[in-house]
Subunit: 392 residues, 2 copies
């Protein structure tokens, strides 16, 4: 199959492979108190781990992403979701760094989630899958790194839900993280952010084909999932970005259709396409679980304030936000940067001017790359207190 | 029934009655080209028409409103939707002005709409109801005023979809409108505004119980309509308003539920309540038709620019926007005010500081009332050129 596709471009990591490992045979104690396992983890790596094991970068994906962050999988024309930033000579330079990306707990791209087979029943977990949190996802990643023999990360990075994981890494394992690059994310959801997720969940659960989660082997809640994704897509774009991209342009016609069967506006066509194509590639129950994890995430839970979370943390931080991102408004990460500085920590905050809204973290290559490159060089020179910089 | 309710407060218009009139026995030519009729119009009036018929104010309602704008209907505890501004001594002072409010074409509160019986079949129109526009709604209102013997209006006013009707009145019948108060509205939808409506429509149409609009006599698309309304409600509130009202407060518990059966956050509870209570009072097909009318509305259609629309118009304009309204951002009405001034017209623009978001037009009594009161006094003294100010 793959022979029929053009060769990857020279600055690509090329053909890649998703690997799988089974962890937590004895179970992982989740934040909810439930003990759960075993957990299969899907992951990819790019580049080479240095002999001193000091060049590992963990890349964390967002809601609908997976372990395939860069390069090409056999039979697929599109590269990984962050290929613009990961590769030889790119911001996350695979000639220098060893990049790891794993699919999160609860997702549907290879790591154990609600669509996985429950070994105790031989059937998919569905809603019998336990509710998981960002903290649980990070605990799974930490065990994966143990498995790979990596004690300390040069950097943990990610946008959106991936940025939450990066923040959680620094809070939970500050001694294992020399630096964090958190992009277009927040330290906890506001009421509006919860509200958008709740409506997406309600759209799925409103679909009779959802069948309280037990839809495997059937078509499943296709319409509900499509509507949920359409809601998401509005929040991923900015008002001005949508206006520039679509405006009031009509789809294939000179005038309004004056009916409910045809499509009038280009933006309607875009949303329907995004909604219905998502159904082909994502599991509705995973969307329920992952949006719940986003809503539950509160970096200050158990401590009370951001300053308490970051007190004594020697990790270096780079925060990147985008001016038109109204799903994760820049102000939220600015608060984190300010709290870290007030504790005496080291935080760089950059707001990039962009019309791409929240999606900018996946699209703005030119503005992000130099910030990331120079920050990684600085992180490489940085030593955590009382730390030899050696591997495991 | 009504005896068991407390008496209306003294600044209320008191008990009111919805009246009905059948118009367009010969049919109304709609903007789509379709000829449609007869049309029943539900309306209410408050106050007394002056002998010179120069004190009539037309109040136009928003998406989910109706003719019942003020006072109390028998058996109902809640007053009309704009009771805070309409009544004796209130901004729209019924001791001075004769207030008219009619339900729009396509709605489900008494005026002919998709849930009305098609006299040619004896069954509800459903999707056989023609697509209607803001211009069509205004043409129906104009005929109602003819029926009531009112040639010229002292003022046309409304918020949101009601504000679009007010703008359309000035554009279509400038000689019949001495003044316009348009609140929290726009001259045409942006791509994002269309997108939110499209997702609401998709949520309804995704519900199998919608049955391509033929659901009358059944429960109908209750889940789809609820989801559509939840999406709407997020856009009616502001980020900061939701944060103040709900934040991350949990519903009746100390900790997360870690399940999908219970409700975690207060904001989730609010949205579900709003969604499901709406189902009891609104017709899903009407929501499809009215959101389509909102999306089609473009005051410049057929002319090309706002300045051309308002060239020579002698109507006085008052525009009111709210700082946290992101559904209809202040900038959009500011553009209208600026265009009117550039044509030599008279436009006052006020942006009220409020955390209530789009809903502010229904809630901010104290800030709106003095603006409206003084503007109406000025409008009363105003004479349209070549116009005697006399009635029909």
């Amino acid at each position: 199959m793959s022979e029929s596709y053009p060769s990857p471009p020279p600055n690509s990591v090329g053909m890649v492979e998703t690997k799988y490992v089974e962890l937590f045979q004895d179970g992982l104690e989740l934040e909810s108190g439930v003990k759960f396992g075993p957990i299969t983890v899907a992951y990819e790596t790019y580049g080479t781990l240095s002999p001193s094991r000091d060049n590992a970068v963990l890349v964390c994906h967002a809601l609908s992403g997976g372990a395939h962050a860069a390069g090409y999988l056999p039979g697929q024309k599109k590269p990984g979701w962050w290929d613009i930033l990961i590769g030889p000579g790119k911001a996350f330079d695979t000639n220098k760094y060893f990049i790891i990306c794993s699919n999160v707990l609860g997702s549907c791209y290879g790591t154990t989630g609600p669509s996985s087979i429950d070994p105790s029943t031989g059937k998919p977990y569905a809603l019998r899958f336990p509710v998981v949190t960002i903290r649980d996802m990070v605990n799974v990643q930490a065990r994966l790194l143990d498995h790979l023999g990596i004690r300390q990360l040069l950097c943990v990075t990610g946008g959106s839900m991936g940025g939450m994981q990066a923040l959680q890494w620094a809070a939970a394992f500050p001694e294992r993280v020399k630096s964090v690059i958190a992009i277009a994310t927040t330290w906890r959801h506001s009421a509006q952010q919860i509200a958008f997720n709740e409506v997406a969940r309600q759209a799925i659960m409103a679909d009779p084909a959802w069948n309280r989660g037990d839809y495997y082997g059937t078509e499943g809640p296709r319409m509900g999932l499509a509507v949920a994704r359409m809601i998401g897509h509005i929040t991923y774009l900015s008002d001005i970005g949508m206006e520039k991209k679509f405006g009031r342009r009509l789809r294939n016609k000179e005038r309004y259709g004056y009916d409910f069967t045809s499509i009038d506006f280009e933006v309607e066509s875009y949303l329907r396409y995004q909604g219905h194509s998502f159904v082909e590639r994502f599991d509705a129950n995973s969307l329920l679980y992952l949006t719940k994890a986003l809503d539950y995430f509160d970096l200050t839970q158990g401590t009370g304030s951001l300053m308490e979370v970051f007190a004594g943390v020697k990790t270096l931080f780079l925060f990147i936000t985008f001016s038109s991102d109204w799903l994760y408004p820049p102000q939220q990460l600015k608060e984190v940067a300010q709290a870290i500085r007030r504790t005496g920590g080291d935080a760089t905050y950059c707001e990039i001017n962009s019309d791409y809204g929240h999606d900018a973290f996946l699209l703005e290559h030119a503005a992000q790359a130099p910030l990331i490159e120079s920050f990684l060089l600085r992180a490489h020179r940085h030593t955590l207190e009382g730390d030899s910089g050696e591997g495991i």
